[in-house]
Symmetry: C2
Subunit: 337 residues, 2 copies
């Protein structure tokens, strides 16, 4: 274990004690460590996570997705304040957004958008890590969930923007997946990645207030009809469609009640335990694949020739399999040098 | 190139000449070569495919999926006979079914189910390869498509059973994806893998005959309503929902007309070209990942410890990331020996 202390760096003991005591400043530094790509940070991060492991797994992990404009931040602010207030829960909000190129300025913007929640002593908001591949961001988010649980948060929200592959990653790390949709004219989920709707454990039509109320109710009916055409989820759960208004604080309690109902079902039926085990197994194998892929594509000899072969393949000059085999041979030859 | 001829084995020249002359017996042997896991077969197969490459890519590639009982074989028989008959096309039918544990007996069963089509001189039916991982089966199916095209078939059907991950693989190798559904009581796609419906370029409700006609029409309306909630596909294509009867030969022409309409759209808009390029690129990178994964999990030292670590992970004794890192370190250490 790393016991030498450097300037501005915490020791293993300071990290673990701080986290288990619920010290937010230490938690934030630990998450930064987890997000770091430096090997020595990685080693320390793994030690910390393994130490914290017995204190994890007790929270309700909720994924929330929706296209930009659906009102995710406003919803999470209202929903979060309901959880820390009336439900007396503690809440950590993490974000997955691998495309994010946010400056420090807009990270502040993120906090400002959840102004009240970010001042709440029972809530912890961690902005998206900047840049990085989906694999990397997904890995650090998964590890951050564990750290937040060890720090005592009993509710975790993973926020993701529903236009990429990130919600598939989120689906493999949460217990409940909430899809936020905007009522529109038949094109409610235009621009949304295919397949998301079938992942949802619940759908909430946002901005059901003022002039928009009727449209939202109509959209609710449409989605209710559609959702019955999908296979029911594990444990026989059928997703519910509701409407809500973050600014009028309507439909918020109903969404939480629905999550608790789902919780009871998956706990009693053993689905939760199985799901968590499957997720852990999947994380392990995905991390392996990610490591293999990273080693391959960051190999100097490979990166020199990969784009040339790719263009031969897309021009139809070489079969994809031959090109792949050439690259693999090249890669494995390096090892046996 | 392999020019030495062994007993019962064809030479490179015999393979390529036979394929380009449309000799089915040679084509079948070449596909067997492609399905083989022996390295020497693999090398020869790659040579053959690369030689054939300039003669590939001209066919219409159609994926057809549906749960067992939907009537896939009967549909493909009727649809195939329409294509080779009225449309004067040539048709190869390949199957992806990685879970298949078919004996020789049931391979025959497959042929018997498409009795008339299998006797048609303009059709070629290749039963599913037995066993093997999805990655392996997907790879050999992709290569088989190329061989069938080089042998002159201008229509390729890839059949898959819609209950696993195989249809995702199929989606990455076809131009048009047809989903067959059975009319039922609200649970039309129970048991079907989530996300399939959003992949479909068209949905056909099968067995729309006799007493079932009304139910099929009702299901059609339901799915029509549902499908408009999905984002439209590349090039602005909106999937059509139709009904059909294989035994009464109804709705078959309409499905083909729809495929041709789709074809015109994706050819003119450049979507087809882009899709094929993207698929080739994807095949290359997937083949690389598959090769890396195979090398890793077939490594002797790894296979000894992987299940032990997996159980530590699912018991919550070790973090998935630490376990993965231990395995990766072990693997890479081997190489540098």
């Amino acid at each position: 274990m790393s016991k030498t202390k450097k300037k501005n760096e915490l020791t293993f003991k300071e990290y673990t004690e701080g986290i288990l005591n619920g010290d937010r400043s230490v938690l934030s530094q630990a998450i930064t460590l987890v997000e770091s790509t430096l090997p020595k940070h990685n080693d320390l991060a793994q030690e910390i996570i393994n130490y914290c492991l017995p204190h994890t797994g007790k929270s309700i992990r909720i994924g929330i997705t929706g296209i930009p404009g659906v009102g995710k931040s406003t919803f999470i602010e209202t929903f979060g304040l309901y959880l820390t207030g009336e439900q007396k829960r503690t809440l950590a909000v993490l974000a997955i957004d691998p495309t994010s190129e946010r400056s420090k300025g807009s990270i502040m913007g993120d906090k400002v958008r959840m102004e009240e929640l970010s001042l709440d002593s029972h809530a912890y908001i961690r902005p998206s890590p900047t840049g990085g591949s989906l694999g990397g961001v997904a890995k650090s988010t998964r590890e951050s969930i564990l750290l937040c649980e060890a720090a005592g948060f009993n509710t975790i929200i993973i926020e993701t923007v529903g236009v990429g592959q990130s919600e598939i990653a989120v689906d493999s790390m949460v217990d409940f997946f909430l899809l936020l949709l905007l009522a529109g004219a038949g094109d409610e989920i235009q621009g949304m990645k295919r397949g998301i709707m079938e992942m949802a454990d619940a759908v909430a039509i946002t901005k059901a207030d003022g002039d928009n109320t009727g449209k939202a109710e109509l959209a609710k009916k449409e989605f209710e009809n559609a959702i019955h055409l999908f296979p029911s989820k594990e444990g026989g759960w059928t997703p519910e469609v509701t409407t809500c208004s973050s600014i009028e604080n309507k439909g918020i309690k109903e969404i939480w009640d629905n999550i608790i109902k789902h919780r009871g079902l998956i706990e009693q039926s053993g689905v939760l335990e199985r799901k968590r085990r499957d997720q852990a197994r999947k994380w392990m194998h995905e991390t392996i694949l990610y490591g293999l892929e990273k080693s391959f594509y960051s190999n100097e000899d490979i990166s020199k020739i990969v784009s040339e072969l790719e263009s031969e393949v897309t021009q139809g000059e070489k079969s994809p399999f031959t090109a792949a085999q050439e690259l693999l041979n090249n890669y494995f030859k390096n090892f046996s040098k």
